[in-house]
């Protein structure tokens, strides 16, 4: 193509744009919004997963964590290396502190630990004894910056850096501490400062280790470490010696391993929580992306097809005069490609701007700040994808047009196929006319129905997630009626503290289809007087379980199904699901306390009973969980863990907030997209009806009457589409939601409330009203002489 020909093509394209600027602009808006959402969501989700990955790599995240009752000796560390694992000390100590005038509990780590190291967002690691690195969530809570000071164990330390620790959420606080990052601060200090703090608070030092597998498996290392038996006289917890003595007295074998926690990285909820949330947002992103791209592709394809079909005479003429198919294709590609490229580039820019606001996972999890920028590949795909699609559609449609005999192209037919032979004379004229119109232009109407269906699918997705999460949050809040949960290592069976209710919890691993242990399901024995959980019937069999709805959802189980669980002694237990309790907050398998006790190590049971008897009190049946509506005054040495309602709900709230911005974006953008799609499609269909509109005008119809005859029809198309599309979309999205949340312990169904339906219907009608107003000009602008142009 020479310069003059190129100039001509460009001029023609520019005029083509000016003539249909509103529709071309609508296409640009559709692409910008659609791709903006897609690029924004993908960028955000990718950055989140990238941040987690970067934190793990930069911080040399260990393969797992081990906590022992007493520090391991050099010989024990060397023995582990022979098994094929390197165990690195990562100790910490809890000391009092003060940040920005508020009292805090500081958990101090050494800056020189070799694995699971801190990563910095700003500044540097402490280089001397009066410096400290503050974890980013704590720094954010108190607006601390590098150069500010915090008090740690009575001494002011200058903040040399702000960063994160690679377990992303806060490490578990001890009994009585809160996990609120404003009051519970993770800090990293120099080796000398750590030694000083540890020396001042020897009882607060935790012998923690990170392990790196170098040939061994997690199970091999776990087995090896569990064989290191805790010598009672070296145990810092006095109950260890008492329990061992009690068991020995009863002649029951019992040994406590030196190891009190063995946590492979994949089982660490502090790590998997962030990853699970990030994966879920990525899944939401993927589904949204697919829906938006389907919609964009559909509208672009129809728009391109319509343009070429309507230009059939020009194409036929040029072909008759010897213009090649390639030259025609080049011309017809210029404008759509320019418009598509502009829309796609604007979409990428919008997505880049939106992405940081969607990446709020960084507000809740402590992992390194990563640039929230779309990758070059994402931008390239976002721009090249629609461009390639438009090119492909044009090639296919133009080829199909040129495959028709040229004389057919030169002789356009009046649009509209034969009407169905229906008798409609019993209906009023207006209705009959509209029905005939609909039957004659069935294809055009289906076009709008399909476009609306895709919009509604997107809307149902956004609104449904919001409603489901709101419902889940409300249900979880209603289900969690207790304020504090204490898991006991050495329960005092002589009495249950006043105001508390006991239960028996046995964590077990669920065996997958291949017989491999997977995630943990807690079997909870609930006494009849426990007010906090659904109480299973006393007639429940030993191998029956009532699952919480969360567990049923997570493992996709129902009444009559079987589930096999493995206990800590590697024994497998096969249970039958006999009921699903309406408890959505946590995945539990409910049973009676007696059946739950049967799953507990007999040595542990006997030791607990003997210890109580030795104390001289009456011994109650074994329990290891206390639930209360207020904090209990318990001996910390008896307690394994403590969690509050706020902490448990916090995870749900965190996840809800995390999704809310994404859902808001999806919802609002789908509303805008619906208006644009209706506008583009209805204008397209009206343009196809120019002949009959002109004919009616020639017969004496006014513009207003023509508008009523042609445009009011779409009201019923919109109403009908919504009526059909909403239930179908809900059915589809329920399945999608189930697949998306299968990894989450969420027992809530996909939910579209009547309010959502009303909102969608209202939105569709409002979109129609806007489009009706905008397109009424189209029918007015059809000249009465149009009818004369259709010849022969």
């Amino acid at each position: 193509m020479n310069a003059a020909a190129l100039g001509l093509t460009l001029r023609r394209s520019w005029r083509g744009f000016r003539a249909g600027w509103a529709r071309w602009s609508a296409i640009v808006v559709l692409l910008t919004v659609g791709l903006g959402v897609v690029v924004g969501l993908i960028t955000s989700a990718t950055a989140t997963l990238g941040g987690i990955d970067q934190g793990a790599r930069a911080g040399q995240l260990a393969d797992g964590t081990v906590i022992t009752e007493i520090p391991l000796t050099s010989a024990q560390l060397s023995a582990a290396e022979e098994v094929g694992a390197r165990i690195v000390p990562t100790p910490y100590v809890d000391v009092p502190g003060r940040s920005a005038g508020a009292d805090t509990t500081v958990r101090a780590f050494r800056s020189d630990q070799a694995v699971s190291r801190p990563t910095l967002d700003a500044g540097e690691l402490p280089g001397c004894s009066d410096e400290v690195m503050v974890e980013k969530l704590h720094a954010a809570a108190h607006r601390l910056r590098v150069g500010d000071s915090v008090i740690v164990d009575g001494r002011p330390l200058r903040i040399s850096g702000i960063g994160s620790l690679p377990d992303y959420t806060l490490a578990s606080p001890q009994l009585g501490q809160t996990s609120d990052p404003a009051r519970f601060a993770l800090m990293v200090v120099s080796g000398s400062t750590y030694d000083r703090l540890a020396a001042s608070h020897p009882r607060a030092v935790v012998a923690a280790y990170g392990y790196v597998l170098e040939g061994a498996t997690h199970e091999q290392l776990r087995k090896h470490l569990s064989q290191i038996v805790l010598e009672p006289d070296r145990a810092s917890n006095p109950y260890v010696a008492q329990a061992l003595a009690a068991a020995r007295q009863a002649g029951v074998p019992l040994s406590y391993p030196a190891m009190s926690l063995f946590l492979p990285v994949d089982d660490n909820p502090r790590i998997t929580g962030a990853i699970t949330d990030a994966r879920t947002t990525m899944l939401v992103t993927v589904v949204t992306t697919v829906l938006v791209m389907l919609l964009v592709a559909y509208v672009l394809a129809e728009f391109s097809r319509d343009r070429i079909v309507r230009d059939a005479v020009v194409i036929g003429t040029q072909s008759a005069l010897g213009t090649s198919a390639g030259a025609l294709l080049r011309f017809y590609l210029v404008l759509p490609l320019v418009v598509t490229t502009v829309g796609a580039v604007l979409g990428a820019v919008l997505g880049r701007a939106l992405a940081p606001y969607l990446g709020i996972i960084t507000d809740y999890y402590s992992f390194p700040a990563v640039p929230v920028e779309p990758s070059a590949r994402l931008v390239a795909v976002a721009v090249a994808g629609p461009v390639a699609l438009v090119a492909l559609v044009h090639v296919v449609v133009l080829r199909a047009a040129l495959d028709r005999p040229t004389q057919e192209l030169l002789r356009p037919q009046v649009s509209g196929g034969p009407s169905l032979p229906l008798r409609l004379d019993f209906l009023p004229f207006l209705t009959t006319f509209r029905l005939r119109q609909a039957l004659r232009s069935l294809g055009s109407y289906l076009l709008i129905v399909m476009g609306l269906f895709l919009c509604i699918l997107l809307l149902v997705f956004g609104l449904g997630i919001r409603s489901a999460m709101d419902a889940y949050l409300a249900r979880a809040g209603a289900d969690l009626t207790f304020a504090d949960t204490y898991t006991l290592r050495f329960p005092d069976l002589s009495a249950v503290p006043a105001g508390a209710h006991e239960a028996v919890a046995v964590p077990m691993r669920v065996l997958d289809d291949d017989g491999q242990p997977g995630t943990t399901l807690t079997v909870l024995g609930v006494p009849e007087d426990n007010p906090y959980f659904p109480v299973p019937p006393s007639t429940l069999g030993a191998y029956d379980l009532v699952l919480s709805r969360a567990a049923a959802h997570k493992y996709r189980l129902g009444v009559g199904d079987a589930i096999t669980l493995r206990d800590s002694s590697r024994l497998n237990w096969s249970f039958r699901v006999v009921g699903v309790a309406d408890y959505t907050a946590t995945a539990f398998g409910f049973t009676t306390p007696a059946h739950a006790r049967a799953l507990v190590d007999p040595g542990v049971l006997v030791a607990a009973e003997r210890m109580s008897a030795a104390g001289g009190g009456a011994s109650r049946p074994y329990y290891n969980v206390l639930l209360s509506d207020q904090p209990l005054d318990l001996d910390p040495d008896r307690v394994l863990s403590h969690s509050t309602r706020e902490e448990m709900l916090g995870g749900v709230v965190k996840f809800n907030v995390l999704l809310s911005r994404i859902v808001t974006l999806v919802t609002w953008s789908s509303m805008l997209i619906m208006v644009v799609v209706l506008y583009v499609l209805i204008r397209m269909v009206v343009a196809r009806q120019r002949y009959s509109i002109s004919l009616l005008k020639a017969l004496g119809y006014s513009d207003r009457q023509v508008g009523r005859l042609y445009l009011d029809n779409y009201l019923w198309v919109v109403v009908g589409s919504v009526a059909v599309a909403v239930p179908v979309a809900v059915a589809i999205m329920s399945q999608v939601w189930r697949l998306m949340t299968v990894h989450l312990p969420i027992g809530i169904q996909f939910l579209v409330t009547p309010r959502d339906v009303a909102l969608m219907a209202g939105l569709a009608l409002a979109s129609y009203a806007v489009v009706r107003l905008a397109t009424s000009r189209d029918t007015r602008s059809v000249p009465v002489t149009e009818v004369l142009k259709v010849r022969e």
Binding site: L8, R11, V314, L321, G322, T323, S324, L410
Partner: protein, 240 residues
């Protein structure tokens, strides 16, 4: 038909037949049509609506392929050409003039001519054409701003600009009033005189045959008349 004409035949049809549909709905539009048109002649094909005139013109122009027979243009068998060869053939030799002009609506008069001029290496001078066709002052107008006659003149210029040696006009006056039609025929007469292209014009108007060097009449797809006009009249002298 004289031997001279056959010897200098620019267009030659041999037993051309064309039908549409099949079975009971089969319609034979052209039946064993044969004739020749001499180089530089003005040939008018006349016939009633549905007689097969346009189908014949489309077949000569390579837009349609007959079911039987041959069409030779400059000795080349158009019916044996591949789609690519047909495109080249139309590009180099054929200029179409349609009843409804079929101008590109978003191009000016000059650009509508340019868009065809770009198809060949040595197009005619566009300004000359515009002057000859009385369109120079309208060269920057869009089709919608022109009268029917002006649009048809633009379509003729578009057909000529490639230097086409075979001008095919399908009812070129069919959409025009009598006065404008006469002007249009004068234009065709002029351009034929100036550019010496062979003109094959299809019309239902018997009066137009007066200006032809050769008249072919079609009836129900058959040639019922093929005669030379020894005294063709000027377009301005025609009357109907």
């Amino acid at each position: 038909m004289t031997e001279d004409v056959l010897a200098s035949a620019h267009v030659r049809l041999e037993g051309v037949s064309r039908h549409f549909g099949a079975g009971e709905s089969l319609v034979e539009v052209l039946h064993d049509v044969s004739f020749s048109v001499a180089r530089g002649a003005r040939c008018v094909i006349v016939g009633a609506s549905g007689s097969g005139k346009s189908t014949l013109l489309n077949a000569i122009g390579g837009l349609d392929r007959p079911d039987a027979g041959r069409i030779l243009v400059d000795g080349q068998d158009v019916t044996a050409m591949s789609p690519k060869e047909l495109t080249r053939y139309r590009r180099r030799h054929i200029g179409f003039v349609f009843q409804f002009y079929n101008l590109v609506p978003d191009l000016t008069v000059r650009e509508n001519i340019q868009v065809t001029a770009h198809l060949v290496r040595r197009p005619l001078d566009i300004d000359d054409l515009l002057v000859h066709l009385g369109l120079y002052e309208h060269r920057n107008k869009f089709p919608a701003q022109l009268s029917g006659g002006q649009q048809q003149r633009c379509a003729i210029a578009r057909a000529l600009v490639k230097g086409s040696d075979l001008l095919l006009a399908d009812e070129p006056t069919g959409a025009l009033d009598r006065h404008t039609s006469q002007q249009m025929l004068e234009v065709l007469d002029d351009v034929h005189r100036i550019y010496r292209a062979t003109l094959v014009m299809v019309t239902h108007n018997e009066a137009i045959t007066g200006l032809a060097d050769q008249v072919i009449e079609l009836r129900d797809g058959r040639v019922v008349r093929d005669e030379l006009n020894p005294h063709p009249r000027a377009a301005r002298d025609l009357d109907w």
